[in-house]
Assembly symmetry: C2
Homo-oligomer: 219 residues x 2
């Protein structure tokens, strides 16, 4: 390693930063996550800077645009989602796997006001996440197919119904204020019950063409 005088390990996103700058960067991300969880993504940049104890200029040097701060702040939770999916894909019981993903992601939505907006609406903007998104969609489709083949998930369930359910849960999570966790749990209970395969299936309205991108955020 001849041309690398730096001796702090180059971590992704904060490589080759001076020690104080790195510290500030971390505090900004922490402050952003806290603020977004409490008040949603509409929190002004200045409020995040104040909470982090830095000036706005410092924030803007690390995160040149508002959207970049948002995507970075939620990268961790996005990874957690991917982990939930991976874990579920290893579960031998397809229905339990399906329930697990839906339940856990819904709980994350309910716990963090800004999560869904960042998760759904900011996805297409940043090309670096395109691969991860595709992988998630593939995994989800696999999960759904397995659950159907096992006879646990109703046959007319569409992959887009996952998005539908997440949007519905988002509406509850953002609308129910203090009760959002309990409300979300109950909605998930209802929805999982109707997703379950039954002998007397009734005709459903056709699925909507929902994509993970092209979704207008709410909240």
């Amino acid at each position: 390693m001849p041309a690398q005088p730096s001796h702090n390990p180059p971590q992704p996103g904060s490589a080759a930063l001076r020690a104080d700058a790195r510290e500030n960067r971390d505090r900004i991300l922490r402050a952003a996550r806290e603020a977004y969880a409490l008040h949603g993504i509409d929190v002004p940049i200045s409020a995040i800077a104040r909470r982090a104890g830095v000036g706005v200029a410092t924030l803007y040097r690390r995160f040149p645009t508002r959207a970049s701060l948002i995507t970075e702040a939620f990268a961790e939770q996005l990874a957690e989602c991917a982990g939930v999916l991976d874990e579920a894909l290893e579960d031998p019981d397809p229905w339990r796997a399906f329930c697990s993903v839906f339940t856990k992601v819904s709980a994350m939505q309910a716990a963090d006001r800004g999560f869904t907006h960042a998760f759904l609406a900011r996805f297409p903007d940043d090309a670096s996440y395109a691969g991860e998104r595709d992988r998630a969609e593939e995994g989800l489709a696999l999960l759904v197919r397995r659950a159907k083949e096992a006879g646990a998930l109703r046959p007319d369930f569409d992959v887009s119904d996952v998005v539908l359910a997440l949007l519905a849960n988002n509406g509850v999570a953002n609308g129910a204020q203090a009760e959002s966790a309990a409300a979300s749990r109950r909605l998930v209970g209802y929805l999982l019950e109707s997703f379950r395969a039954r002998p007397d299936v009734k005709q459903l309205p056709p699925p909507a063409r929902l994509e993970l991108d092209r979704l207008g955020g709410a909240g």
Copy 2:
């Protein structure tokens, strides 16, 4: 009628207005409804004034605050909701009545982006709607009780689950952009199926304490 020189009948909300003022008031309300339906309640006042062909000052004279314009603009749809409920209360089949209310209100939500926000969030602000709200809650409770007693609605259904379902549908309506109508129909289909009484009821998470007021809008 000695002390009433006016000969235009005093209509609610626009009593004793000069002819041109009344005309403008109506055009403002029409413009507001159109704009809110298309773009949600975040549309700036100036855009509504422009669409109505009046100046901002004219708008502000009739509707002293932004919120007052919103409540007035949605008064009609609110009345439509009340009509839907009244109609359902006269239906001899309680389950059909229940489905009808949920389906129709959900369709209204999906058709009009700003509807829910105005409907839920603006309710408590204006005391004049308190009576109407109480009446709606009573009617809804009656509808739910009847449907349960008829053995059509599952026994552990809570009245707050109506709010839960409307919040969920709102999330879909606001998030699914162009597909919101189809998406909403499908969600309603799923939810109604899980609300229906069944022999093999599973334990649900407990209901959340949701009230029609105290709801943070998502919109």
